[in-house]
Every structure is written in structure tokens, then in C-alpha cells.
């Protein structure tokens, strides 16, 4: 969590440096699918708007990038099974676009190709749909961002752990069940976090949430067995629909539920609200 807070602080500190003289460059790159077993994808993006989704057609990836060439240089490097995408700073300060005309990164990845995905964002407004991708691992790290993650279709591969490291952010994750992960770890610094536990749960899972300061909303579909264990300093919990037994809160149908999710919540300050969805 400390790392997340530091990341947020650094991005928040540099983000407002509004300077003139931007020189925008647009790069479109794509690569067709060759003999590929699994791809390890690393995406780094400092600032701007980010969109990600599954690609149609026979491409491994498709990237459309708009960036300030005075400050960044594009990265699109496929070496063996490692694919690096995004931008790298060339060390001349940091600039944000004025009137919303900032950088943009549109990414598309092939369906059906196993992907070990590592995403790192700074001050980014992200709209990510991982639905349709075959994810074997997922690491997502954001700074001061507004991120919306959706797993609109079930992940066909399944993964051991999906990790989300969130700095100062407004973060929303939908259809977490579709991730097909044994464990989901969420490490949040400061922000407003909404987690939708809908989607198709193909196995029981553990969700670990470590939050510094902020509001957390857990949107849980009826029928999903939930066990919530809270550990915190000044945390208010609106545990509607949960029954406290011992140290933990249980959903009413915990014993009979087809799929069960154990949520371990560790928060310092803030509020936690449980909302049941149909």
C-alpha cells in the first residue's frame, strides 16, 4: 500500500505541470499473430486516456498512440514472447494536455492467445475491457487515475492471482467473477473503489483488499456466498445482508452457495458498503 500511495503522490505532484509547446505524434502499430504460445505483455503509460479491449481479426495486438514527442517516445517491442507497449519518458519534464487534448492510448489484444498481462499507469483515465482475452496472469498498477476495468466475458484460461495496485484513484472493477482467478489482491491507497463481484465464478476465490483511506463499495450478486473479514482502525461497515459470526460477516446463503468468495479487508480509514445486486 505504501508503494501505491507513493506512486499516487508522485503522479499527483507532477501531473499539474501544465506547460505549453506540445508536439503531438500519432503512431499506429499492429502485429499479426505468428507462432505464439503465450505472450507476456507489459504496458506502461504515464498520462492520458487509455482504452483496452480484445481485438478482432488476426492481429496479436493493435496500438494507436497519441503522445507528446517532446516528452515521450513510443514503445512497441515484440521480442520473443515479450511484448512491451506504451510510452517512455525521454526526461524533459512532464506535460498534460490542455482542454482534455491529452495523450491517448488505444490497445487491442488477440482473443485466444494466452496473455500474462502487466499494466502500469500513472495519471490515466482508463477504460479497460479484458473480456475475451485469455489471461494467465494479471498485474495492474495505477497512480492518480480514474480506472474502469470490466471483464465482460469469462477468461478462458484461469489464473492463480490477479493483482490490482491502486494509488489515488477512482477505481471500478466489473465482472470480477469472469477473471477466473483463485485469488484477487487489491492494494489501494486513497480513493473511491467500487468492486462488482458479478460475472461467472468458475471456482471459489479469495479476495484480499488492503485500503488506506477511502470509500469502498462491494457490489455482490445474490446467490454468491460471501465471507467478509474486516480489520481496520477507523472503518465504518455497512454490512446489509451479512450476518456476523465470530470475527467475520457471512452472507445468508453462505452454507448453500455454489460458489464462495472470502473477502479479507484491511483498511485504515474510510467506509465500506455492501450492496446486493440481482
Amino acid at each position: 500500500m505504501r508503494k501505491a500511495i507513493w506512486m499516487a503522490a508522485v503522479t499527483a505532484a507532477v501531473a499539474p505541470s501544465l506547460l505549453a509547446g506540445q508536439s503531438w505524434r500519432t503512431v499506429n502499430t499492429s502485429h499479426v499473430i505468428e507462432d505464439t504460445d503465450e505472450v507476456r505483455v507489459f504496458v506502461e503509460y504515464a498520462a492520458g486516456r487509455l482504452k483496452m479491449r480484445a481485438a478482432d481479426g488476426g492481429v496479436l495486438y493493435r496500438m494507436k498512440l497519441r503522445y507528446d514527442e517532446e516528452v515521450f517516445e513510443p514503445v512497441s517491442d515484440l521480442s520473443g514472447d515479450r511484448l512491451r507497449l506504451g510510452v517512455e519518458s525521454i526526461g524533459r519534464g512532464f506535460r498534460m494536455g490542455r482542454r482534455g487534448q491529452g495523450g491517448e492510448l488505444d490497445l487491442e489484444f488477440a482473443r485466444g492467445i494466452p496473455i500474462d498481462m502487466d499494466l502500469k499507469f500513472g495519471a490515466v483515465q482508463a477504460d479497460i475491457d479484458l473480456g475475451g482475452l485469455a489471461l494467465t496472469d494479471l498485474d495492474l498498477s495505477t497512480g492518480a487515475s480514474q480506472s474502469r476495468i470490466d471483464i465482460s466475458e469469462p477468461n478462458s484460461m484461469g489464473m492463480a492471482t490477479a493483482r490490482f495496485e491502486i494509488g489515488a484513484a477512482e477505481f471500478e472493477a466489473r465482472h470480477l467473477g469472469n477473471l477466473n482467478a483463485e485469488r484477487i489482491e487489491i492494494d489501494a491507497g486513497v480513493g473511491e473503489i467500487t468492486l462488482w463481484f458479478d460475472g461467472r465464478w468458475q471456482r471459489d476465490a479469495r479476495v484480499s483488499i488492503d485500503m488506506g483511506l477511502g470509500a469502498l463499495e462491494l457490489r455482490i450478486p445474490e446467490g454468491l456466498g460471501v465471507r467478509l473479514e474486516k480489520d481496520g482502525f477507523l472503518v465504518s461497515l455497512d454490512s446489509e445482508g451479512l450476518v456476523k459470526r465470530g470475527d467475520a460477516y457471512y452472507s445468508l446463503d453462505w452454507e448453500d452457495a455454489d460458489r464462495r468468495v472470502r473477502i479479507d479487508l484491511d483498511a485504515a480509514f474510510g467506509s465500506v458498503k455492501v450492496v446486493w445486486i440481482r
Binding site: 503512431v27 499506429n28 515484440l78
Partner: protein
């Protein structure tokens, strides 16, 4: 023999590639990776093919580069660049087959002329050469070769990648058609009285002509000797070849392709260099004109011959303001000395003894001024009795704070003046330490010296940085002087009480040294105590 056949095959492949493309069915290479980069000064296309081949065509800063080599220049915004950008905008959204088809189908705009048309042709040819994979079915003499280009393992691909000679060969054979004689890896002798019909192509061989050639003579990687009475009815084209003797007649002239290529590249480089130079020259001229124009623009933006002298006027007027400030503050200082001399002495002593503490207190006091002011007003407004007081509090508190700041600054100036009087710096001999008027004015001049120097230097041109630096130094000095003085005023309650400082306690030191931790009370009779006190 097999070696000769192999080499002949390669030559045939190369030649077939060069002369036959228009006559063979075409197929497109697979594009595995595409990059389209567009900015204000650049429009670049990068392609990577399945066989690891690449193509990069860049329109960048007025130059067209194909695979890193400058092939021509363009004027940003001209028809060719517009057409290229239009093609790239289509290519950006396409992949693989569609992309290759679109790029291959592109043709140079017909409305171009001259150099630009040639450049467009070069770009078009580069695209087609890179994207086209075609079957060659080429017969020559005793052998027939069938080879497919575009196959990753093809021999011809290796040839294309491994040698630059083929490029030269392409240039050498440009425009060649009909029947021609090819000799690969062998010397050719055209004896006197004999005639070779059609073009003569010799690759990696030496040619000796005493007779006549009814067409072009093309020599690649070899030598050519034209003896007396010899005649070539076409051109002589030398590609990486040497003309060792020229005693005959060449009707079409001799062309050394390498020289021509080098000349072309040099010409393009010179052209680019000249354009850059001209641009820089015009930009420099513009900037100089602008600078000169600015010198003669007055504050209203109009033209004025007096404008260059405004720096002098500004500098002098600011210097006058500095001196006026010194005068006014000095008068205030003299007033304080006259009417509140002891208070000033107390503050000055605190400044001298505890400058650091005074600065910290001053800084804290400055930060708390506004909150205290607001809080005081709120507290006073709570009660009916307090409301009239609040009406006085609101204007008087800021005035009192300003007065405290000015008083503190003047005190610091006096201390500075005293220090200058003690020093042996030149120009400080007039400051008499015993006279507060001198020390106050001397100190004020010293504290404002940086500002005054900045204003004097601002009169001179090209010293803006020094002016800024001195002004900054003046601001820092003034800030700390005010903070220290204000802090001392707060610590001494405007000089009404001495600052409590830790003093050396003899008794405590003795007790600490001797390990005495018991208090002993002595009873001293009243008279003896008075006597001791008087004695003390």
C-alpha cells in the same frame, strides 16, 4: 561447371527480376508488423514482412527517406505529402492483406511534375518492390529458371538481402528491352570488324571492344576497354565497373552509375543543407528584426525613437524609489529612536543575541497573522460588548502588524549599520556608531543595496540575468530582515520586556559539579540580608 550454372542461375534470377516484373503474375508479401507514425513534421510507414524484411518510408522535415536513405526533398504541405498522408491514414486502420493491397495499389499522383514526380515514382516503386512477390519464369540461353519471390527461404531472397549489386544492376538495366546478350563471370572480346546486335551485358567480367556494338554496353563489376575504331551505338553504363581505355566512339555517352548515385546523393544533401541554411538565415534575420523593432516600441506598443532609452528611465526611476524608501524608513527609524529609544534598544539586543530564534518566531508569527486576525474578529463578535472592539480590531490589527514589521526592519537596519561602522569596508567611514541616525540610514542602504544595484545594472543591455539575480538576492535579504525584526518585536513585546534567555546559573553549575542534590535553607536575619543585598 555446377558452380558456373549456379552463378548463372543467380544472374538469371536477378535479371529476370529486373526485366520481367511487368510480365508475370503478382502476389503480395505477408506484412507481419506495421507502424504508421504521423506528426506535424513527419509521416512514416514501417513494415515488417514474414521473412524479416523491412521497409521504411519517411516523409520527415522536408526530406523523403527510404530505408534511411534520402531519396528526395519535398515542401511540407505539397501534393505529394498530402497524398502520402492520405495513404497513411488509410493504412493506419488496415492490417496484413488489406494493408499490403492498399499500399501496393497506391500510385503516384498524376498532377505532379519534375523532381516531385520522380520522387513520387521512387516511393511508388519502393512500395511495389517491397510488397510484390512474383513468380519468375525466365528463359535465357541454355537454362530456364522458375523461382518464386516471397518465399522466406528462397535463394533469391538471400541474394536480395546479401548484395547491393542487384540494386546497381537494376539501375544499369533500366529501360532495357528486347533481345540482349548476357555474359556472367566471363571476359568478352568483340574483335575488330565484328558487330554485336543488341545490348551487351557483362557481369563480373572484363570487356574488350575493337568492333561495334549495336546497342548499350552494360558492365557490372568489371572493366571495359574501348579500342581504336570501336563504336558503341548506345550508352555505356558502368555499375561498379571501370573504363580503363576509351579510344572508340560512344554515341550515347558514358555513365558511371555509382558516380551518378553519389552525385545525386550529394546534390540532395546540398539541397537540404541549403534549405536548412536559408531557413536558419531567414529565422535569424526575423529574430534580429523583431529584437530591433522591440527596442523601438514604446510601452503603448507604438514606434518611438526614444524607446531604446526607456531602460535608462526605468532604472533611474526605480533607483529613485529605492532611495525614497530608504529616506522614509530612515525617518521612521529616527522617530522610533526619538520616542521609543529604550524599546528599540531592547529589540536590537534581541536581534543581536538571538537572530535565529527571532527569525523562527517572525516566520511563525507571519503565518499566524491572518488566522489570529480572523479568530480574534470571530471571538469578539460573539458577544455584544466585543462587537465595538471587533470594529477596531479589524483595521487596527493589520496596521499593528505592519508597524511591527517596519519597526523590526528598521531595528535590523540599525544593527546592520552598527556592524558596518565597526567594519573597515570602504565607503562605510561616514557611519558613526554612536549616532543612531547614521546607523539606521547606513543599514537601510546596505539592506537595499542589492535592489539598487539591480536597478543600476538594468540600465545596461544584455544583463537581464544579473539584474534578476540581484533583485532576488535583495528580496531574500529583505524577507529575512523583516522576519528577524518582526520576531524580535514579538519576543520583546515591542521592546517592553527583555527576551528571556538562558543565563549561566553559578549555583546550579556548582551543584551539578559537586553532586549536591539536597536543598539547604539558610536563614539570614533581615538586616544581614539587606546588607548583603546592598553589597551585591
Amino acid at each position: 561447371m555446377p558452380k558456373l550454372l549456379f552463378r548463372s542461375t543467380l544472374a538469371a534470377l536477378g535479371i529476370g527480376l529486373l526485366v520481367a516484373p511487368s510480365a508475370v503474375p503478382a502476389q503480395l508479401r505477408d506484412v507481419v508488423s506495421k507502424e504508421v507514425a504521423v506528426s506535424r513534421s513527419e509521416a512514416t510507414l514501417r513494415l515488417e514482412f514474414t521473412d524479416d524484411g523491412t521497409l521504411e518510408i519517411a516523409f520527415e522535415d522536408g526530406a523523403v527517406l527510404i530505408n534511411g536513405d534520402v531519396v528526395g526533398v519535398f515542401v511540407p504541405g505539397d501534393d505529394l505529402e498530402a497524398e502520402w498522408r492520405s495513404l497513411l491514414s488509410q493504412a493506419a486502420s488496415l492490417d496484413d492483406g488489406e494493408l499490403a493491397l492498399t499500399l501496393s495499389d497506391w500510385s503516384a499522383p498524376t498532377n505532379l511534375a519534375g523532381e516531385l514526380a520522380n520522387l513520387a515514382q521512387s516511393v511508388d516503386r519502393a512500395l511495389e518492390d517491397a510488397l510484390s512477390g512474383f513468380d519468375v519464369d525466365f528463359g535465357s540461353g541454355d537454362f530456364r529458371v522458375s523461382q518464386s519471390i516471397g518465399d522466406g527461404g528462397s535463394l533469391l531472397q538471400m541474394l536480395l538481402r546479401s548484395t547491393s549489386e542487384l540494386g546497381l544492376l537494376q539501375q544499369a538495366m533500366n529501360g532495357l528491352g528486347g533481345d540482349f546478350n548476357i555474359h556472367f563471370g566471363e571476359d568478352v572480346d568483340v574483335p575488330a570488324g565484328s558487330t554485336v546486335d543488341g545490348p551487351l551485358v557483362v557481369i563480373q567480367g572484363n570487356v574488350r571492344i575493337a568492333g561495334e556494338v549495336d546497342g548499350d554496353v552494360i558492365v557490372v563489376d568489371g572493366t571495359l576497354e574501348l579500342l581504336e575504331e570501336s563504336r558503341v551505338r548506345g550508352e555505356v553504363r558502368l555499375a561498379d565497373a571501370r573504363l580503363v581505355r576509351n579510344l572508340g566512339t560512344v554515341e550515347g555517352g558514358v555513365h558511371d552509375l555509382l558516380d551518378e548515385e553519389r552525385d545525386l546523393q550529394a546534390e540532395i544533401r546540398n539541397q537540404v543543407r541549403e534549405e536548412v541554411r536559408a531557413e536558419l538565415r531567414s529565422q535569424l534575420g526575423r529574430e534580429l528584426r523583431d529584437a530591433a523593432r522591440l527596442e523601438f516600441i514604446d510601452d503603448d506598443g507604438g514606434f518611438s525613437l526614444m524607446a531604446p532609452f526607456r531602460a535608462v528611465g526605468n532604472g533611474v526611476s526605480h533607483l529613485f524609489k529605492n532611495l525614497m524608501s530608504v529616506f522614509v524608513l530612515g525617518l521612521i527609524g529616527v522617530g522610533v529612536v526619538t520616542f521609543a529609544g529604550p524599546n528599540m534598544d531592547t529589540i536590537a539586543e534581541t536581534v543581536r543575541r538571538s537572530p535565529g530564534r527571532s527569525a523562527v518566531v517572525g516566520l511563525a508569527g507571519t503565518l499566524l497573522l491572518v488566522p489570529v486576525w480572523l479568530l480574534g474578529a470571530v471571538v469578539l463578535c460573539v458577544s455584544i460588548i466585543g462587537i465595538p472592539v471587533a470594529l477596531a480590531w479589524l483595521p487596527l490589527f493589520p496596521l499593528a502588524a505592519c508597524a511591527a514589521g517596519v519597526m523590526g526592519y528598521v531595528v535590523v537596519a540599525r544593527n546592520t549599520g552598527e556592524w558596518l561602522a565597526d567594519s573597515e569596508y570602504p565607503w562605510t567611514g561616514w557611519i558613526r556608531k554612536s549616532n543612531s541616525v547614521y546607523t539606521i540610514f547606513g543599514g537601510l542602504l546596505a539592506l537595499m543595496l542589492a535592489f539598487m544595484a539591480a536597478n543600476v545594472i538594468s540600465i545596461a543591455p544584455f544583463l537581464g540575468f544579473v539584474t534578476g539575480l540581484l533583485a532576488f538576492a535583495g528580496a531574500v535579504i529583505t524577507f529575512f530582515a523583516i522576519q528577524i525584526g518582526f520576531g524580535a518585536v514579538l519576543l520583546t513585546r515591542a521592546g517592553r520586556r527583555r527576551e528571556r534567555t538562558a543565563s549561566f546559573d553559578v549555583d546550579a553549575a556548582w551543584e551539578a559539579a559537586m553532586g549536591v542534590d539536597e536543598e539547604v535553607d539558610f536563614e539570614v536575619p533581615g538586616d544581614e540580608a539587606k546588607e548583603a543585598s546592598d553589597h551585591a
